[in-house]
Symmetry: C2
Subunit: 454 residues, 2 copies
């Protein structure tokens, strides 16, 4: 039949959704359709399926394609699917992964299954996987490819090209070529492009450049963030004695940054990152990713009940004050969030460091005062119009103070979090809202008591 | 003197901060220090400077290094710096950029300067730049590299290698080789690695693969998002007649995704992305990136004042009700934000499409009810303990309803936004908070009036 690739992709998806086990009569037709779907759409379709259906699709795909699709999934999703696949499929998929992706998958699996999978590898593959497993989670070593070419500075362009050609099948990348001495110390780096276009009589020492490199123990996110803007294809990774132990490829660096951004944006919204496509995440997992945060925030919001309780007398005398509570706390929360979002992002990108604490506070205080002046004047005018001058004065000055304090605290929090080793995104938005709510209310009632004389 | 590279980087930064124009006597010493700082740190240091100091650092650096640093900056920052550089520097930097980066910079410059810069290019460079300029902003065509190799399917491995070697200097990448017919139609793609390791007698037709490709008019963000997980180095870009017009390289695709993520995370926090390092952003620009949002949100928060005003009678009769206002609106806002954050991210990653609207609503309704059940029971118990059963019932049932509605609306909003062509991140967090505040208060007082009989 003559479907376009898009139709084929939709039909396949609809089909997969209908049934969890496929009728054997229909399998050939589904296979025919699957064959029409381009690789990138296949990945998107499989990503949206739960583990059972994803495994079904993988089994129906031709070998090369199913390996490519499996390879492109998150480690978390891979781990879920593995339960649903036959052993021979599992071993083959596992075998085809790059060592660092293999380690990422092992991290997601129960120890017993991880063990069995490791044992299914050939000795040499187990060895390279072991190198990566030896580094801490979150370190560059854990994410690097341990398969590196051995090219020495005295080698000629001709010899280097020959050697790269012969060993290419064992290497994840041949486009970035680290140059090492006999003792494996890194002395330079040269791109395949440079070797390829250089005069055949030159040596590596002639054309290699000062290596940009990372230590295996360095933080993976920080390294990926400074490495990616350099637009290099791979970054040599060395141990403490400056010996080459691996290469961090651009695609693994991109994955690291993407994961961290997902996590940051999730946490800024008060939830944990799903690490799995939304529609294929079980309902209870969604609840679990949110309930802890929600409870923590609700408990800390009890603080606002306390604050209001202690001002109940004032409230009873001037009920009109309660009308502005959501407006004032909301504005404080928004101002604090804006500052925290900006500073969190700047920290992640390395534009701000923890030692810039005072500079950031000073900037945010001034920004907050300017914002507060604008909002305060608007609040003064509007509230005076409707509720009279004294209420107008209370609202106006409260807005000014709330904006100044919220911006300063909002800018401060991510840096404090980073200094004490917590995730800046965790500390940021939801917590700041709660904090700004409580402080804002105290300011509000203190000003109200003074101005209204109650 | 014998500074470590880190010290050198710190000294340089401190020095740059002190003065905007450098004392000519000190320039040699600063140059010596700059020479010790590795490229990635140089980029980080220059990124943190304002335009005047960044230009100063660029002028002091050796040519090759300053070009590399300039190249790595955002187009926005480049545009700011250009004002501070001498003409000859500007022309040289501009000349060295890749065509697509040149276009990104042109977009940030006043028309007059853009024109002058374009005229400074050689005819052939102006032509390739013109190709990119011909496509819409936000399209793949605008971000692709228009310099492509011309390799035909009947060419042997030996001939292809020879041709790539000869033309490498004109190409941005030689690692992904699109194969085209005489009429420039794209028929396959092969990596340099495959050509390099193949038998010299084979032809391109023997080793090439089905090309994965994009249309020049496709949306740049969507394309970058599906392309990056494929871990390919470059994506062929074709026009409507399937003729090859360029290559989207992985590093440009990474830039696109990073920009969008920055924008999304900024907007989720109720601010506009700075597109410039935080510490080098002028204070008033920070205020401007926030004030509009803050005012819009404050004006929409007037809705809550309205709602409370209309329930003032109820409030006056039971002042205790006002104590829970921030807790209830806060919880509603948090639940809504969680849902919106998750769905916004899923939309960006392509895990959820607009047609999944009903599936998402149904999921979020159930998640919201589960969350509401937990929080509602906790609220019922606590409030009953302190304020008695009737208040407990009001708080408990309000929490349940608020969570259910907020999660549903929070999940719905980003999809609605995308459907009507707005940015999901804009519609999400801050707006949802305000919406949840108002609805939450109405629910609260309706329940309170019923249960308390006032």
């Amino acid at each position: 039949m003559a479907e376009t690739t898009e139709q084929a992709s939709d039909i396949v998806e609809a089909w997969l959704k209908q049934e969890d086990a496929i009728d054997p009569h229909k399998a050939p037709r589904l296979q025919e359709l699957l064959d029409k779907v381009p690789l990138q759409d296949l990945i998107a379709v499989v990503e949206r399926q739960n583990a059972i259906r994803a495994a079904l699709a993988l089994r129906l795909l031709p070998r090369q394609k199913s390996i490519a699709v499996f390879d492109a999934l998150d480690a978390k999703h891979q781990a879920d699917i593995i339960d649903e696949l036959g052993n021979s499929d599992v071993y083959e998929f596992f075998d085809e992964l790059d060592p660092e992706d293999r380690v990422a998958l092992l991290d997601e699996l129960p120890a017993e299954i991880a063990d069995r999978l490791l044992r299914s590898l050939t000795q040499s593959k187990r060895d390279v996987t072991g190198v990566v497993l030896g580094y801490d989670k979150g370190s560059v070593g854990r994410r690097m490819s341990p398969e590196v070419p051995v090219i020495h500075p005295e080698m000629s362009v001709r010899d280097a090209l020959y050697k790269l050609r012969e060993t290419a099948h064992e290497l994840e990348t041949i486009y970035t070529v680290p140059i090492t001495r006999e003792d494996r110390r890194l002395v330079g780096v040269v791109s395949l492009r440079e070797i390829f276009t250089a005069d055949a009589a030159l040596t590596m020492a002639d054309i290699m450049q000062e290596p940009v490199f990372a230590q295996a123990g360095d933080d993976a996110e920080e390294t990926a963030r400074w490495f990616l803007p350099l637009d290099m294809l791979a970054l040599p990774v060395v141990d403490e004695s400056h010996r080459l132990v691996g290469l961090l490829t651009w695609d693994d660096a991109t994955d690291i940054v993407e994961e961290e951004d997902s996590e940051d944006s999730a946490r800024a919204g008060g939830t944990e990152a799903l690490q799995q496509p939304y529609l294929s995440t079980p309902l209870l997992k969604l609840v679990r990713s949110r309930i802890v945060w929600l409870l923590v925030l609700a408990v800390s919001a009890l603080l606002t009940v306390q604050v209001l309780d202690s001002f109940e007398g004032t409230l009873a005398k001037a009920v009109v004050l309660s009308l502005f509570i959501p407006l004032l706390t909301g504005t404080g929360g928004n101002t604090g969030n804006q500052a925290a979002t900006t500073v969190t992002r700047a920290l992640a990108l390395g534009d701000v460091r923890t030692r810039d604490l005072l500079a950031v506070m000073w900037r945010e205080l001034r920004v907050g005062m300017l914002l507060g002046a604008v909002l305060g004047l608007a609040g003064l005018a509007l509230a005076t119009l409707v509720y009279g001058l004294s209420i107008g004065l209370v609202i106006g000055s409260t807005l000014f103070l709330i904006c100044s304090i919220s911006a300063t605290v909002g800018g401060l929090m991510p840096i404090v979090a980073k200094t004490i080793g917590a995730d800046p995104a965790v500390f940021s938005n939801p917590f700041i809202s709660t904090f700004c709510d409580a402080t804002g209310l105290i300011i509000y009632f203190l000003i109200a008591k003074t101005v209204l004389g109650i």
